[in-house]
Symmetry: C2
Amino acid sequence: MNGPLRLHGYFRSGAAWRVRIGLNWKGLSYESLSIDLRTGAQGDAAWRARNPQAMVPALELPDGTLLTQSLAILEWLEETVPEPAFLPADPLLRARIRAMALVIAADTHPVQNLGVLKRVEALAGADAARDWARQTIVQGLSACEALAAREAGPFAFGAEPTLADILIVPQLFNARRFGVALSAFPRILEIEAACAPIPAFARARPEVQPDAD
Amino acid sequence: MNGPLRLHGYFRSGAAWRVRIGLNWKGLSYESLSIDLRTGAQGDAAWRARNPQAMVPALELPDGTLLTQSLAILEWLEETVPEPAFLPADPLLRARIRAMALVIAADTHPVQNLGVLKRVEALAGADAARDWARQTIVQGLSACEALAAREAGPFAFGAEPTLADILIVPQLFNARRFGVALSAFPRILEIEAACAPIPAFARARPEVQPDAD
């Protein structure tokens, strides 16, 4: 690719974190552009005109094309930079890996993101919003734990990390933030420990991003 | 494929509906097995042992393998039965189509599914749950409308239907159910009208399923 890739994200956004892992995994360098979710910068008119969902992340290509939705960006990375792969060749295994990724990407993270928690808080208060987040994350991680328990470790699907691990790791940041007791999820903790020393994962952590506070 | 495919679903489940469209699209016949979401049958121990998320849909292969998560099942169908395709060859276009699909599959449907609405109702009452559903759907369809308005019609991405249309059509059933005024979404209505006469879409509608009441 000619010219820099630009990742519009936020250090603490779980969805941006996934894309950072993916970019690192493929050995692609990129420029980080921060959109401050705490001040609601994702709702600015100029950003909304570019990304009608008014969310992060978005990956900007050198020609200005903007790709949105973390899973769509990850699939695009896999298709355009096939090696090293984060999906194996076997279609059945790909389906099981994508299913675990979607437990997080569809049924967990969007139900406990900042926008949803603000809506719960407006309806029922801050304690209810925290409980909501915790319940949602426990539900999602319980399903992932049961699915991962059927597979060999240390990663979600055996001896090599895959797309599923890319989704699991950032979700644990939110789990801890909302006080989820992770001891109930031994396979999930095993996955996290296996991913931690891998540079693509380590360099994607929130605290080492340029916009971290 | 030898032996019947079995789709564990429910006539009114938007996620099962997507998979029905996909199976029809690929010309695959299947057996419908109904899991009654109104009576909470998806939470039964026997089903939960097979699908730890305790949700529908799930596609059972002739050897008993169970595939879960509608988007993972659709990607598996596309990979194993490539023609007729619901994703074009161009990676950038695939990324934009998947992004629109994920606006529905990640940020809309899971935030307004039956389980989430029950939680909102328990916190703040039935009216709040209806408002929640309506707001969530308006947010998702507004983003899809803006994205589709950039593309030629009549389908979401031009002259042929794609994965994006498979996600849009079932979401409109929920939109009407919760009283969303669809006149604000002319491109979305154009997509629905273009898909309606296509047999793969028509035969997937809830009211023609064996478990419809």
